[in-house]
């Protein structure tokens, strides 16, 4: 009898193989977080003994945690994978950052625009994303294979029905496909799987003493000297971990003593807040994720 994790794993592998067979220039979006780590692990499984037949694309903002960059480069080297890093040149020129321009402009310019630029530059016709349906209510209806217009827009009214194990990845001129192999995984599944498969993840997920400042209830890690400190603001050492990883000035830590995968899974089994809570971007309004998606954020 296959377990829940066995079934999810097999489904994801099936999706990877189908997507690669039905596209000409696939790419995997790699954001260095735990979902990306799981997605990469599944890609390695799907095509073994071959290497995954696509490069990884990191749409970088230059504001990720230092530990993430280290982890990224180590992972890519270890598996001998091709990594493409794209940084929106316009953002570099304008020096877009979360402090002067706000989280929403920052994310929109670096990530949303950056992603579109990268996809256009390399002419990828299919991109794997690590989104899950359980992350947010609007995601519950997103398809596994989702068509984007030539302008990268998503039309929630024109979604294709998906039945059985059959996926329709056909697209018109200029259109592209987003494929989400982790659609049916929950946060808990992800952690159970990391535990079962011993998948390496960025150490920031595990609790440790770290220098943080408290900003309106969000614990922000002082990851480098770019973080402006208010007068008299002094970083404090606290035992914290991250439930989600993004740009360090926008990602809140939670106080925790969970310093092993086992401890994290146990903590989540008894958790009282969902992972997105730590991300500043979702706080505006409850339909905001969906707006982001229509604009091409994913």
């Amino acid at each position: 009898m296959l377990t829940n994790l066995d079934r999810l794993e097999a489904e994801s592998i099936h999706i990877f193989r189908e997507a690669v067979s039905e596209s000409e220039r696939p790419v995997m979006m790699y954001s260095i977080g735990k979902d990306s780590s799981v997605m990469l692990h599944l890609a390695l499984k799907a095509f073994a003994p071959s290497k995954p037949p696509f490069p990884l694309l990191h749409v970088d903002t230059t504001w990720k945690f230092r530990a993430m960059y280290e982890f990224r480069d180590r992972t890519v080297a270890e598996h001998g994978l091709e990594l493409l890093v794209h940084q929106n040149p316009e953002c570099i020129e304008l020096g877009i950052n979360p402090f002067d321009h706000g989280s929403s402009v920052h994310t929109d310019m670096w990530k949303t625009e950056g992603l579109k630029q990268a996809l256009d530059t390399y002419r990828f016709d299919l991109a794997f994303g690590g989104a899950r349906r359980d992350e947010e209510r609007s995601r519950a209806k997103e398809r596994v294979f989702s068509i984007r217009s030539a302008q990268h827009r998503w039309d929630p009214k024109a979604q294709r029905p998906e039945l059985w194990r059959l996926y329709n990845a056909k697209k018109g001129v200029g259109e592209s496909v987003r494929a989400f192999p982790l659609s049916n995984w929950t946060e808990l599944d992800i952690w159970h799987y990391i535990r079962r498969e011993r998948i390496p993840i960025v150490p920031l997920y595990l609790a440790a003493e770290r220098p943080v400042v408290d900003r309106d209830g969000m614990l922000i890690l002082v990851d480098d000297d770019r973080l402006p400190l208010a007068d008299g603001e002094v970083p404090q050492l606290r035992k914290v971990r991250f439930r989600t990883l993004g740009c360090y000035p926008l990602t809140g830590a939670v106080e925790s003593t969970a310093d092993s995968i086992d401890a994290i899974v146990a903590e989540i089994l008894l958790a009282t807040s969902s992972e997105r809570q730590g991300r500043a971007i979702d706080h505006d309004s409850s339909g905001s994720m969906e707006k982001k998606k229509q604009e091409g954020y994913f």
Partner: protein, 631 residues
């Protein structure tokens, strides 16, 4: 307790969670039966509603809720912002929850217009179904419809959730009579396992704990049942099937076939047949990232290697050699239509079955099934949310099983070839014998032989445009010119063909498709005879012009768009047809109340307002030289 035993306990606890199984189920109910409330309660009771989601729920309950100051659990399962604003959901949504014993994925399909389409989609991946009935209303037409669709999609296990029992005073007699009536009906549909449970989703009776309000009920609670039910779809005992998704070739020494096992168990040494070709080989290894496996069972995604070098590519079906799947190019199938553009027999569609893509046409709609009454009626097309039993013909042989034997090798998608949208799905009933018996006659005097004798290549010159655009005039002039050049030609004119060959056809969309199909086939025969065939038909639909183009070889088709603005054609109104159409005497008249789809890439584009007839003729003849039809 020492620190180490605590750690071991945690480990054991986590290990147990890791080994949980998954149950996928679909919930079906009419509007207001309490489906959202029920799912919301399951999520809530399984304690997997996070605090911040709860906060959002409390806020939402005040704005959109129907429960006054109380939490409205139904709002937990609501979705897209626009839909939330309107208080409705219009698609399939997937919900996730987990308990100590099992993990669940719920396909939630709301009871609105797109019901058939959404339910069929949700049921296609479900292991079982929960069918909701409002205790006050009992078994309704909708209940029967849900049960029919569930059974059509091959679900054999059903929970009959008799909800809102609080509103009938927890009356046992009400529950018993609903259960009795339902069993009688559903057994006839082939639903083999039915568990009826009396519930109140709102009050929480019999959801996680047996309720003191129903002391007469001795069965399991809903959650108990969901956590323990063993759904056996029999896949393990069926013959081995694996559609090949991807050929794995890291280097010259390794050649593996990757796919998901969808039937039976496979072990090294097993003999398999490669379909549709029919060659056989033995499985050598079952390769996985974690090392070779002794066996693979249904649902596992693996890579197989074979002992001999046979030709296998994506789309082939690896199949037990003892009990191989069938191979055919004509089928009878149930088709569920999902697009606002109707299914028309004769129109070519893409099809995807297993990992194989092909082109299909529906050759006949035997009957349509009314999902409410299960009555059959005749039909010439299927509109959105209709189900029909059809015969279909595919342009190449497909390996298959009957859907009843295997969902994965008997279910297919139907895809529009222009928009690439999934417009319907099919479930194979059986193969039609005919396909094994109709063979192509090969002929000795072939096309090149005809061409040598005639001094030019054959071709279809297809004139399309509005009525009164000038198609016939241009086509006539072109024919005169070609005749003068010594070419062998024939002119097929829409009006004339309608008097003879197509006398039985009218102007409905379906008849128009058939009209063009016949003419296209006739043109193809004449091309085989070596002629230059001039066809002058309004032919308003791209997909039909595409059929005509696809019937002949590349380079043998020249599409001529005779482009006259509607206002000009209507102004001319040589045959007085526009006036009649505007008066409502000619329904479905192109340009008036039926669309004309402008050609996207015609070989020749004649704008009659700026060009003379002779200009048009010159353009066509030049193009025919470019295509190599004329020397």
């Amino acid at each position: 307790m020492s620190a180490t035993t605590a750690a071991t306990d945690v480990e054991a606890y986590l290990d147990a969670h890791e080994r949980k199984t998954l149950l996928r189920f679909i919930t079906c109910g009419s509007v207001d039966d309490g489906k959202s409330t029920l799912i919301g309660r399951l999520l809530y009771e399984s304690k997997l509603v996070f605090e911040d989601h709860m906060a959002a729920l409390e806020a939402d309950s005040r704005v959109h809720g129907t429960q006054g100051e109380e939490l409205d659990l139904a709002l937990l399962v609501d979705g897209l912002a626009a839909e939330r604003e309107q208080g409705i959901t219009i698609d399939v949504a997937y919900r996730f929850f987990t308990t100590e014993r099992r993990t669940f994925i719920v396909a939630d399909t709301p009871g609105h217009e797109q019901y058939t389409r959404n339910m069929v989609t949700g049921a296609s991946t479900a292991d079982m179904a929960v069918i909701l009935v409002d205790a006050r209303k009992g078994v309704l037409t909708q209940t029967k419809r849900h049960s029919f669709l569930v059974s059509l999609l091959g679900i054999r296990d059903v929970v009959l959730a008799v909800n809102k029992l609080d509103l009938v005073g927890y009356d046992r007699a009400v529950f018993d009579s609903i259960e009795r009536e339902y069993r009688e009906f559903a057994t006839g549909l082939g639903v083999t396992s039915i568990t009826a449970i009396p519930l109140s989703a709102l009050a929480g009776d019999n959801i996680v704990a047996l309720s003191p309000n129903t002391p007469w009920y001795v069965g399991p609670t809903l959650l108990d049942h969901l956590e323990t039910v063993v759904v056996d779809d029999g896949a393990v005992d069926r013959p081995f099937r694996m559609p090949v998704q991807w050929v794995n070739r890291p280097d010259l020494d390794f050649r593996g076939y990757s796919g998901t096992v969808v039937g039976g168990v496979v072990r090294p040494g097993d003999e398999v047949q490669v379909l549709p070709i029919g060659s056989t080989a033995r499985v050598q290894r079952i390769v996985s990232f974690d090392g070779d496996l002794d066996q693979a069972e249904p649902g596992q995604a693996v890579t197989l290697t074979l002992d001999v070098d046979v030709d296998v590519s994506r789309g082939d079906l690896l199949s037990s050699a003892l009990e191989p799947a069938g191979v055919a190019d004509q089928f009878e199938a149930h088709i569920v239509w999902m697009s606002d553009t109707p299914l028309l027999p004769g129109r070519p569609y893409g099809i995807k079955m297993g990992a194989r893509s092909a082109v299909t046409t529906v050759t006949n709609i035997k009957h349509r099934i009314n999902v409410n009454t299960l009555e059959r009626s005749a039909a010439t097309k299927l509109v959105v949310n209709e189900i029909g039993v059809c015969t279909i013909s595919v342009d190449r042989p497909l390996p298959f099983d009957a859907y009843a034997d295997n969902r994965d090798t008997g279910g297919f998608l139907i895809i529009d070839r222009l928009t690439n949208v999934t417009v319907g799905v099919g479930l194979v009933d059986f193969a039609l014998r005919r396909s094994e018996n109709v063979h192509w006659q090969s002929v000795d005097v072939d096309k090149p032989a005809h061409a040598v004798l005639k001094g030019h290549q054959p071709c279809v010159v297809w004139f399309t445009g509005l009525s009164g655009a000038g198609k016939s005039t241009t086509a006539n002039a072109v024919e005169r010119q070609l005749h003068a050049l010594g070419c062998h030609t024939i002119l097929l004119d829409g009006d004339n063909v309608r008097h003879g060959l197509n006398r039985d056809l009218g102007f409905t969309e379906a008849d128009r498709v058939e009209n063009i199909r016949r003419v296209a086939e006739v043109a193809k025969l004449m091309v085989d005879a070596g002629l230059i065939v001039l066809v002058s038909f309004i032919s308003p639909f791209r997909s039909e012009r595409r059929i005509a183009r696809d019937l002949v070889a590349p380079g043998e088709f020249c599409e001529v768009f005779v482009d006259t603005p509607l206002a000009v054609a209507e102004e001319r109104d040589v045959k007085g047809l526009y006036r009649k159409a505007r008066d409502g005497q000619l329904p479905n008249f192109t340009g008036v109340d039926s669309p004309y789809e402008v050609p996207e890439h015609p070989e020749v584009h004649i704008e009659t307002s700026g060009q003379s007839i002779d200009d048009g003729v010159r353009l066509v003849v030049e193009q025919l030289r470019r295509q190599g039809v004329l020397a």
